[in-house]
Amino acid sequence: MFLLPALIINAAIILIPGLLTLAMAFCEWDGASAPSFVGLDNFRTIFADPVFFSALFNNVKWTLIFLTIPIAMGLVAAALLLVAKRGRTFFQVVYFLPVIIATVVVARVWQGMIYNPESGIVGWLKIYGLNLADPLTQPPTALYAVASVDLWHWWGFLAVIFFAAFRQVDAAQIEAAVIDGASFFQLLRFVLVPAIRPTITLMMIMTIIWSFLAFDFVYVLTQGGPAYASEVLSTLSYRYAFYNYTMGPAAAVALVICFFGLIATFFYVRVQQKEER
């Protein structure tokens, strides 16, 4: 009985529409007329769309970027916080500040104040003879420019999480390593990281899931452009649905995103079971 209110709301908002999307992936629908069953046509449509594969590849790049750079930054910063006892709280608050700022605001600050060739840092560099274009408008750099913004927004979260995990590590173990003459990086590599491996694994799996869900920064900064250079699966799905009014392919792309989420969840459950044993 106590479960019912939460379950009913959840089923009405997520489960039932989710199942409808599952059905819609096999139908043709423009959002207005009656849907008709078309079998696997929607999947043929998206697999024939070159943008689908570039978007998928962009998600893979995005995943690789976020599996390495912010996790490495977070681990190093967290370990340094362990060494530097004074000012810990200050640094944690500062690193966490970008995390709590709305993505749209973060995106506009970077767009206007940093990347913009007139009002931003990129424009200001012209005084020093560095003639850069807005990296968001150049196909080779657009995806990385967007990822950099998300990276700035995100890494502090990992630093704070890893620091919380490091503090649970047995202090005697750390001191023994230091007395044995371990350098900072040896300490990180051989004592700290192995001790919090479960936390790191969890964060990596969540990173994979979140990387395939990435939407806000891409949508606000480039809308997937220029020329689909920064398109990811979630923005492609949104484009199919609300720009082209083709619900079938939009649903098919959503299912592809789910597929990657499922794989990551599968590994997560496997890892958890391994640890329990």
Partner: protein
């Protein structure tokens, strides 16, 4: 351990931590400085301090964008959703913490599973369903969507609080003649209130900042949330960045204020729930 790692290491640690802090604060200080500069000053040198404080940027942001109205919409949506989340999820968390049986394991698995789903999986049918029922531009309907989206996080966080309460406490209350509902409201809820506060803060922050769902379901000018209104403010190049940054400050201020007041609770809650902002 600091002596053993050496003074050099400690110095290097502080230098790196300080550099990271500068990276985190740099875009935010650009936002702050630019919000009180003329746009011609921003274009001339984005890094320079303003010649005179342009408070008119804030006045114009407030009146041009009608931020007051949209902030009220944000507050209403966030308020409704937070109340719904805290009430339905504390009930559900209690049921999951105390109940036994395979059914409940499936419910847990279902809630956990929904956190890995892309919003695009249920957004499109939900949008057309809401449009059919006349629920577009309805703040309460939007808060129902948020309730569903944030309920898994809230349930799992609150469940740990309920699990920490000894069963004997409930049994004693039952012996004293309390029924299950009275036990829940009079004995358990006061004990889990720190957890409820954490859930309210984290989900409130995320809903205040949320973009994709609110931009889809609140479309008319009068109903938009602050973040969506902010998004419509900036065109790519012909923008008045001073005014936009002033609007950014107004939107970000409540979130930052809450965070600085209760940063420990924010950080703990985000760490426990692993919510991607």
């Amino acid at each position: 351990m600091n002596q053993n790692l050496g003074r050099g290491t400690l110095l290097a640690a502080y230098v790196i931590l300080a550099v990271a802090a500068v990276i985190a604060l740099f875009p935010l200080s650009l936002m702050l400085i630019s919000s009180v500069k003329k746009s011609t000053e921003i274009v001339a040198n984005p890094l320079a301090l303003p010649s005179a404080l342009q408070w008119t940027n804030f006045v114009r942001a407030w009146t041009d964008a009608q931020l007051g109205r949209s902030l009220l919409n944000s507050a209403e949506t966030t308020g409704f959703a937070v109340v719904l989340i805290c009430s339905t999820c504390s009930l559900a968390a209690y049921a999951l913490a105390r109940g036994v049986g395979p059914g409940l394991r499936w419910v847990s698995a279902y809630f956990l599973g929904t956190t890995t789903l892309p919003i695009q999986l249920y957004l499109f049918p939900l949008y057309f369903g809401f449009a059919h029922l006349g629920l577009i531009d309805n703040v309460f309907a939007l808060s129902l969507v948020y309730t569903a989206v944030f309920s898994p996080f809230a349930i799992f966080l609150l469940r740990t609080y309920f699990l920490a309460i000894p069963k004997e406490l409930e049994e004693a209350a039952v012996i004293d003649g309390a029924n299950r509902w009275q036990v829940f409201t009079r004995v358990l809820l006061p004990l889990v209130s720190p957890g409820i506060l954490t859930v309210a803060l984290i989900s409130g922050l995320n809903i205040w900042n949320e973009f994709l769902i609110s931009s889809t379901f609140l479309q008319s000018h009068d109903q938009q949330t602050a973040v969506v209104r902010f998004y419509t403010l900036g065109g790519q190049y012909s923008s008045d960045w001073g005014e936009i940054m002033a609007a950014a400050i107004i939107i970000v201020a409540p979130a930052v204020g809450f965070f600085l007041l209760m940063q420990r609770r924010f950080i703990q809650g985000m760490a426990a729930g692993s919510v991607k902002g």
